[in-house]
């Protein structure tokens, strides 16, 4: 980017045009076709879903576009289903099999993350220009396996640091055309919101203790297990207990999750720059919490039928609070000629051939 001289600054929030009613019809048709084709159509369904949401999101009057094709997605899904079957059955047959698979998972997961991110970014465009991803395998291995192991060894004290590494890897390696995104969030910011999130969670757990104490005061016989109690009765007691915990601690846990979600997006995405332009994210905890809570209740009341509206509500709030502070014109980004050619061309390179993104 050349120097901008007296560049006017514009704040450009993302615009979102999707509606629940429109997405409901796309979703339910996708679902039926997926079921009657025994899951094969799910790849086509993913393309339609992402094309709908990308196409419904616009920046400065131009919508985003998803270019993914169903066949690479289908290949990725078939491999994933096969791997899942092997892992699920293997793990159930013998813990030794599961143990042998551990290194496979350790070294395989970062590879899948790189491939999925590469596919996702290169298959996205705005104003006809593709996004790109420059992260490599070693970076993913470090951020997702190395740092996670370090976090576990240190009893999660290093977990915010690992989360920071992972976000820096995913976002800081992104590019639009030839212009690289730069990640500016600090470890300190990550530690701050992780600690406050943890405090909220602990408060939620304390709230959960309250109903348990109430239950035991009401039914002191629970402390002395009745040897003649029928398993059914024991199950009903556990059910009541679980219900009480959900009722009391659930909203607080949801609040902690909303806080974490909002701060993570604000700090990580909100700290990105692209050339002279700056990405902003201003999600707030309470609106997000309200959307979580009402979506959840509506989903339960409608037996999951509310899902498309829930999804659209969530995306509408997120997109309305994310955007770009543009310094000067957005016309000067240049295509990464190599990427542009190989992604648009018929014969895609093998890296695009499989999509593992879920």
């Amino acid at each position: 980017m050349e120097e901008q001289i007296a560049a006017p600054t514009r704040e450009l929030p993302l615009q979102f045009h999707a509606t629940g009613a429109e997405y409901f019809r796309i979703w339910i048709v996708n679902l039926l076709l997926t079921i009657i084709t025994l899951g094969i159509y799910s790849a086509w369904a993913k393309v339609r879903r992402l094309r709908y949401f990308y196409g419904s999101t616009s920046l400065d009057g131009t919508s985003f576009e998803y270019h993914g094709k169903p066949i690479p997605i289908l290949k990725g899904r078939l491999i994933a289903v096969a791997a899942y079957a092997v892992l699920a059955l293997g793990g159930r047959l013998s813990p030794y099999v599961a143990f042998l698979m551990l290194p496979l998972i350790f070294f395989g997961v970062p590879w899948i993350i790189v491939k999925a991110r590469l596919f996702q970014m290169r298959m996205s465009s705005w104003r006809g220009l593709r996004f790109n991803f420059h992260g490599n395998y070693t970076g993913a291995l470090g951020a997702y396996v190395g740092w996670m192991l370090l976090a576990m060894v240190t009893l999660m004290i290093l977990w915010p640091w690992a989360l920071w590494k992972q976000n820096r890897y995913l976002l800081g390696n992104g590019a639009y055309g030839t212009e690289r995104f730069e990640f500016h969030a600090t470890k300190g910011q990550f530690y701050k919101f992780c600690l406050i999130g943890l405090a909220l969670l602990l408060a939620a757990l304390c709230m959960a203790v309250l109903p348990i104490r109430m239950l035991y005061t009401a039914h002191p016989e629970l402390l002395r297990p009745n040897p003649n109690a029928l398993p059914v009765e024991a199950a009903m007691v556990s059910l009541k207990l679980a219900g009480a915990i959900y009722l009391f601690a659930g909203p607080l846990i949801l609040l902690a999750v909303a806080w974490f979600h909002a701060r993570l997006l604000d700090v990580s995405i909100g700290g990105l720059t692209l050339g002279p332009h700056r990405v902003f994210a201003r999600l707030r905890t309470w609106p997000l919490f309200w959307i979580y809570l009402t979506n959840l209740l509506a989903m339960i009341c409608t037996l999951g039928l509310f899902y498309p509206w829930a999804k659209v509500r969530m995306l509408r709030y997120q997109t309305a609070n994310i955007g770009l502070i543009a310094h000067g014109s957005l016309d000067q980004f240049v295509a990464d000629t190599q990427t542009q050619a190989s992604a648009v061309g018929e014969g895609m390179h093998d890296v695009f051939d499989i999509d593992f993104g879920f």
Binding site: R25, I28, T34, R48, A88, G128, M299, D331, V334, F358
Partner: protein
């Protein structure tokens, strides 16, 4: 004239452009005061989804984007029906409601009727060693949790083992039957069939039984489970159901995970069917061995307990066993 935006795709520059239908099968692009002619066949046109903008890609990879979906469809006319059938399904509310009914019906029918059959096939393919491995692990887990060593005296234990081997000796169905006696206040009077022919019987059951013929009725029920490889089939169904849930709810989140509870309810129905199968096997076995079928009713009624309050029973859609009154004639039930 279709209004839209034009991107050269070499840079992020955007220009205002118009597209105009000229002669049959060809269009004229007006951009930057220039006019370019294209045949419809040269253009790559994105198919319609909801009301998102349409994109037309020209042979030089440049793009034209427009919100005028109807305009593009009119331009294409009858010339190119393309893959618009999905969009035709998606725009229609009647079809959406029909699809909803279809989704519910198909998932219900599959989990109810298809999955048990598939699980049966998979179980048939898996070698007997699978049963052995699972069975060994299951009994280890149970021994850590609910079961304690049996407190019955050695003579009684030997008699029971003897009884069980006499029952299973003539079966010759490839299963290595083994009786495990355990004390378990948690399970109460009960017997459990594990894969690999392991049948666990609690001391509480042995005490509850009025005679050995009643115990044989319960053991025959468990043998019925072993012969049908019911435990293995249920495990396979469980894997199948979670796999289906992942496929259907492509993007899993905590909220959508709720919806996966529905198949579990259906599975408990399948489980009740397996219980009925095992009950039938037990009654048949009693008849074949000239033991009164009444023994089965007697012990079952006593196991569940005549004083069993109706309120303590799970609602039918959650229960893994059929209701007692559907399984046995209990005298005190007054039925």
């Amino acid at each position: 004239m279709i209004q839209g935006r034009y991107f050269d795709t070499h840079s992020s520059a955007a220009g205002v452009a118009q597209l105009e239908a000229v002669a049959l099968e060809s269009v004229c692009l007006h951009v930057n005061g220039q006019r370019q002619m294209f045949g419809l066949a040269q253009l790559e046109i994105s198919d319609r989804i909801g009301s998102i903008p349409r994109r037309l890609r020209f042979p030089d990879a440049s793009e034209f984007e427009t919100d005028d979906n109807d305009g593009v469809d009119a331009l294409l006319g009858a010339a190119a029906p393309r893959q618009t059938w999905v969009h035709r399904l998606e725009r229609n509310w009647g079809i959406a409601v029909g699809a909803l009914v279809g989704v519910v019906a198909v998932s219900f029918l599959f989990v109810r009727f298809g999955l048990p059959v598939v699980a049966g096939w998979v179980a048939a393919v898996l070698p007997p060693s699978t049963d052995n491995i699972i069975g060994q692990h299951a009994i280890q887990i149970l021994d850590h949790g609910f079961l304690k060593p049996s407190t019955l005296d050695a003579q009684r234990q030997a008699n029971l083992h003897n009884l069980f081997s006499r029952m299973t000796a003539s079966l010759n169905d490839g299963h290595d039957y083994r009786l495990e006696l355990r004390d378990s206040p948690a399970l109460g009077p009960n017997a459990v069939a594990l894969p690999a022919g392991i049948v666990v019987m609690t001391d509480q059951l042995s005490t509850l039984a009025a005679n050995d013929e009643e115990l044989m009725a319960v053991l025959a029920h468990e043998i019925g489970h072993v012969r049908g490889r019911h435990a293995l089939r249920q495990m396979i169904e469980g894997v199948g159901i979670s796999a289906i849930a992942v496929v259907i709810l492509g993007d899993m989140s905590s909220v959508t995970a709720l919806a996966s509870a529905a198949p579990v309810l259906l599975q408990s129905r399948n489980s009740r069917q397996l219980e009925s199968e095992a009950d039938a096997f037990s009654r048949q076995w009693l008849r074949d061995n000239h033991i009164p079928e009444q023994r089965f009713d007697d012990i079952l009624c006593r196991m569940i307990g005549p004083e069993d309050k109706k309120g303590a029973q799970l609602p039918p859609f959650l229960a893994t066993h059929p209701a007692i009154q559907d399984r046995a004639h209990c005298p005190s039930e007054g039925k």
